[in-house]
Amino acid sequence: MTTTEEQHEALRSLLGAWALGACPPREAAELEPHLRACRDCAEEAARLREAAGWLALDEPLDQPGSLRQQVLDWCLARRPADLPVPAWGAAYTAETAKLDALLRDLGPEEWQEVAELPWHGGTEYLRPAEVLCHLAAVDGFLAVALGLPDPVPGVPVLGGPGPAAARRVPPQDPAPPAPRVPAQGGPWAGITERTARLTADQAGQPPQTVRARWRRHCHELVRTAALAPHGNTPVDYGFATVPLRDAFVDRAFECYVHGEDVARAVAYPYDPPAPQHLRQMVDLAVRMLPPALAGLRAARPEHAGAPAAARDGDGRHGGTGRLVRLVIDGPAAGEWLIPLDGPESGPPGGEPVAAMVLDGLEFCQLAAAHRDPDRLPVGEHGDRAAIREVLHAAPLLSRP
C-alpha cells in the first residue's frame, strides 16, 4: 500500500469529477496512478466513465406548444369526457400549462432573470418565481370563491375584511352582488399586498418548488370548477366582483401576458393563445371597456371624444349613446359593438359612429398596456376621435 486510507478516500471522492472530465490536470495526474494500484477505485472509475459517455447525446426534440391541444382533442374525440372542463376554464388550463412548460426548462441562472411587467400605471420588475407568486395571489380570489383554501398565507387583520377573509361558501349561482367600494390605497392595493405577502412567504424556496406549488393550485382550481361548473359564482377581486366564468378568462389572459413577459426576459419564444381562447379574451376585454371609457373621461378628458360637444349641434341628449364597431382580424376574428358613452347619455343605439379593425392578439396586448395606443396598426373608418377613445381606454384594463 503506497496510499493511506485517507488519501484513498480523497482520491476516490474525485472519481465522479474525473469521469466527467472535470478534474484539473494536476489532480487527474494524482488520481491516475492510484487507479492502476487500487482495484476498487479502478472499477468504479470505469463504471462512472462509461456512464458519462452516454451523456454525449443530442438534445431531444422540443415539444411544440400546439401538441397539448392536439393530443387532448385526439383523446377526447375517442372518448368524450364525462366531467369536461367548462369552456370558460379551457383557456386557463391551456395558458397555465404553457407557462409551466416554459418554466420546466429554465436553468438556475434564468430563474434569476428579471422580467418586466408593464401596466398602464408603470412597470413591475419581477423574477419568474415572483411572477408565479403574483399570479397565484390573484388566482387565490377564485380559490376562495370556490371554497378552496387561499394560497396567500394569513391576513394580518388591519383595515376591515379584505377579499381574503376566507369566505368558504360552496359554489352556487346567485345574482352577482353590487360592486364594492375600492379599498384604500388605490383599487389594486389588495393585489399588490397579496403578491407581496405570498412572495415573502415563498422567498428562500427553490424556484422549482414555487413552480410546483403554483401548478398544484392551478390544477385544484380547474378541477374544482370542472366538478361543479357554476359559471355565475361571484369572485370578489376586492375592487370588483366578477362571475367565475369571466374570472377564469381573466386569469388565462394575465397568465398569457405575464408568461410572455417571462419568456421575453429569458429570450425564449412564446406562443400566442389558441384562437378560441384569444377570442374569449377579446370578448372579456370588450365587455370591460365601458367602465374603462368612463375612467378615461374622468381622468383625461382630452382623450374623450366629448359626447356633449357632439350633441350640442343637434340638440343635447339625443337619447342614445354612441357605438363603435370593433372588428377583430386574424384567427380570433369577430365583431363587437362598444358603447362609448356612459348611461347618462341614454341607452347606446343607432349606427356605429366608427369602425375599427385590428388583430386580436394586438388588441389583447393593447388591453394589457403592452402596446402604444398611438402606434398600433388599426384600420379606421368614420369618427377617428371615437376610435382614439377606445384605443386609449383599453390599456386602462391593465393592472399591476
Binding site: G16, L55, L61, R68, L83, V85, G147, P206
Partner: protein, 285 residues
Amino acid sequence: MAAPGRSPRWDEQLQRRLARGEETALGELYDQLAPMVHGLAGRILADEAAAAQLTREIFAHVWEHPEAFDPAQGSLRSWIGSLTHRRAVDRLRVRRAAEGEGPDHGARGGYDGSRPGGGPYGGSRYDENSPVEEEIRTVATAARIQYVVDSLPQTLRETITVSYYGGRTYQETARRLGISEQIAKQRMRLGLELLATELARERDRQQQARQAGQRGHRPDEAPHEPKPSAAAREEAAAPRAERHRAAPRDATGHERTADHGTARNEPAHDESAHDDRHRNEDGGT
C-alpha cells in the same frame, strides 16, 4: 403498497379520475408525462411528426383504457414509459423494414396504428444479431439513459450538466452553483453512479429480452417491463431511494433536503400535494 391509513398514491387517484372521465385528470396526466413520452418517442424515432403521432396514441390509449394500468406492477410513469418505448421501437423496426434495411423485410407484420389497445404486434421475426436490432438497442439505451438524466434530482442533474456540457472543472462548477467543492464532487459521483446503475439494468433487460426472443417470444408482448428494471426506472423517486444505498456517507442530510421536491418532474412533491388535496376533499366541501 401504501401503509394502512395513508392516502392512496397519486397514480391510483389519477387512475380513478381517468376512469371517471375527468378531463382535468387527462390534462394533469399530459402535463406530468408528456415531456417523457414525447422526448422518448422523439429520441427513438428522430422525427417530429412520428413523435407527435405516437404521443397522441399513447395518451389516447391511457385515456381509453385507464384500467390497463396495474399499480401493483410499478408506477404510472414507468408503465407509460415502457409502453412508449415499446411502441416507438416497434415503429422503428417497421420503418427500417420498409426502408429495406432489415434482413427479413417483407416478412414483418405491419404495425396497425388504428389499434391503440395494443396486443401482439404481428408475426414479425426477431433476429437479435441483425445490424438493425443492434442499432435499435443502442438507440433505446441512449433514450433510456437520457431519460434517467432528465429525471435525476435537480441538484444532481444541474451539477452534472453545468460541468459536463459547460466544460467546467468541479471547482468552477461549485463556484457557479454556489456550493462547496466537496458537495460538487459528491454530486458528480452520485449522479454518475445512478446512471451507471441504470445502464446495467438496461443491459440486463435487453439480455432478458434477447433470451425471451430466442425462446420464441417477442419481448414486446410483456405487459410491463421485467421486474428488475420496472422498480428502478423513470422515477426521480427511485434515484432518491438509490442514493441511500449508493452513497450513504456522501448523501448528506442537507443535500437530501435541498433535493426534495426539486427533481425535474417532482413526482414526490406532487404526490404529497395531491395528498393535501385529498384531505381537502375529505374535510372540505
